[in-house]
Amino acid sequence: MRQLAGEFFMNGDIACAEGAISAGCRFFAGYPITPATEIAERMAERLPEVGGLFIQMEDELASMNAILGASWGGVKSMTATSGPGFSLMMENFGLGIMLETPCVLANVQRAGPSTGLPTLVAQGDMMQARWGAHGCYSVIALSPGSPQEMYDYTIKAFNLSEKYRLPVLLMADAAVGHMSEKVVIPPPDDIKLFSRRKPTVPPEKYLPYQPGADLVPPMAIAGEGYRFHVTGLTHDERGYPVMTAEAQDKLIRRLVGKIEQNQDDIIEIESDWLDDAEVVVCAYGISARIAKFAVERAREEGIKAGMLKLVTVWPFPEQTIRQLAKKIKAFVVPEINCGQISLEVERCAGGAAATVLVPHMGGGVHRPETIVEAIRKAAR
């Protein structure tokens, strides 16, 4: 049948599912969990209409693996979950990183640890997104703050995953997932899509992990005669396990390097009033829209406040923070956790500007006044 186009009033979870469909996702495997279940429900209904396949797996371990398998079968794939499920998915998120498998994992964050507050918002998984699987690697994570951004960033997430060959994280939250707003869905022809680069050499010359100049290797899919091997073990260009320190060094440097080297293409930020700012509020997701409101109020009071919204939270915009730190007094970082991204801001500011965390333990969002007050204090 069809992809939607036009103006819709929908919640963030549904917008995420529609974004996936617009991005060409045709395989979803998942397990129900509040507040991400609506993504699975929408995909269960919609995928058959666009020739895709939905499967509800037995748990989140299976869901993550199934989307990796589907991706190697040649189909754009995704799963969606929340905190407890995200923890389970970490194991094979790591496999996806190691096998360099394009796919998208949406985490509609809720308050934790453990079962926590199933229906209520938090941003407590931001460091887990960065470091949740064991070992050393780099990730790409986007953080949407509205249903429109759920739609737009899901498409971005698929494009980045296909371009850089890794599972990309959509770090949403319960507030955004369950909030309904107008979502504009463009006609399919107006949506820019990127698909993985495929090998151009014959099978006997194909090396599954021989990268191009961008450090990303072309990807064959199963059933095309390449008879390739891939493994979660440390491997060489042939995809064969090699148990040496040299092989480990080479592989990890490339896995990290492909993100680092291309960060200008990957990192996306939005900024307002930075030119004369003395205090910059750095925020992401639902917190960014409340922060923007607070910055507007501070400006009305005559405070030179600026706004830096992280569209991509990972990789972290180190250079932007470093440069800003040289000319401002302080960063204010509101987060619905007890300090995660603020640590990165502080690290990159390197003492050149103060970093003021405005923590919120979850279950709700910051009241704008709390952030305005932090801006006032920081400006003094």
């Binding site: 199934a66 589907a70 991706s71 091997h229 979660g232």
Partner: protein, 277 residues
């Protein structure tokens, strides 16, 4: 000196640049992989359209030696990975080759659910009654009283009977052979590959280095003799009655061969009916 053959007949289907393999002398895995390849060739399937997915462990290394599209995944997760691969690319025949610990312990939940859904996969589960790669620990199939490094006083956990577990969960084809029964094992693999739906072949394999050494069977040859003397071929045996006791009888044969709609059959039928409404 014995002259090695220049080329092994299965060279085209092996990653010869990766040989020799890591398996111990006397291990059954070399034999079982060989049986798999012969079983595959006899099936007539196009090898370019066959993918192998393994988990972790000694058997998990099989994917690395077989020259087909092959995936060495994480511990226990070969089946859900294979499920995604198969459903996304239905033209593929997807085979999971992994060990008893991988398939029915850490991956046990995936195993029963894939069988329940009747996903069109073939699972070749190599059972050596212990965790070999980590040095011989208690596994989900270790017989009562057997010694392993984590059951130093003898195993007091009741083991799984894999064919019974598979049959009860909904597998449409269930067979068991040992590494001794090479032609029968090959035939079972061919049948399983050609069977539509979730098929399981359990291959009993020697692990002389660790399990055997701890249970008075320290060479591959002794295992082979044991299989020869203690196997009872009983086609159509009731899977409930094929459990294996320590150094006891091994009932072999094809236990289940039934028809049941697959996940894909039922999905397509459901969607077709919905469209007709």
């Amino acid at each position: 000196m014995i002259q090695a053959m220049e080329r092994h007949p299965m060279d085209a289907y092996l990653r010869t640049d990766r040989l020799p393999h890591i398996w111990c002398p006397g291990c059954g895995l070399g034999t079982i992989v060989h049986c798999f390849l012969i079983g595959l060739l006899k099936s007539g399937l196009n090898p370019d359209k066959v993918a192998v997915v393994s988990g972790i462990g000694c058997t998990g290394r099989a994917a690395g030696y077989i020259k087909l599209d092959s995936f060495h995944t994480t511990h226990g997760r070969a089946i859900p990975f294979a499920t995604g691969l198969k459903l996304a690319n239905p033209d593929l025949k997807v085979v999971v080759i992994s060990g008893d610990g991988d398939i029915v312990s850490i991956g046990g939940n995936h195993f029963i659910h894939a069988a329940r859904r009747n996903i069109d996969l073939t699972v070749l589960c190599v059972n050596n009654f212990n965790y070999g790669m980590t040095g011989g620990q208690l596994g989900p199939t270790t017989p009562l009283t057997a010694r392993t490094t984590t059951s130093p006083y003898g195993n007091y956990e009741q083991p799984f009977n894999i064919p019974y577990l598979a049959a009860a969960s909904g597998a449409v084809y269930v067979a068991r052979w040992t590494a001794y029964h090479v032609t029968r094992l090959q035939k079972a693999i061919t049948e399983a590959l050609l069977k539509k739906g979730f098929s399981l072949v359990e291959a009993i394999s020697p692990c002389p280095t660790v399990y055997g050494r701890l249970n008075r069977m320290p060479t591959g040859l002794e295992h082979m003799k044991y299989y020869k003397d203690n196997s009872l071929i009983k086609e159509g045996a009731d899977p409930r009655e094929v459990d294996i006791k320590l150094n006891g009888q091994i009932v072999c044969g094809k236990f289940v061969d039934i028809e049941r709609p697959t996940f894909t059959d039922l999905r397509n039928e459901t969607l077709r009916q919905h469209k007709d409404k």
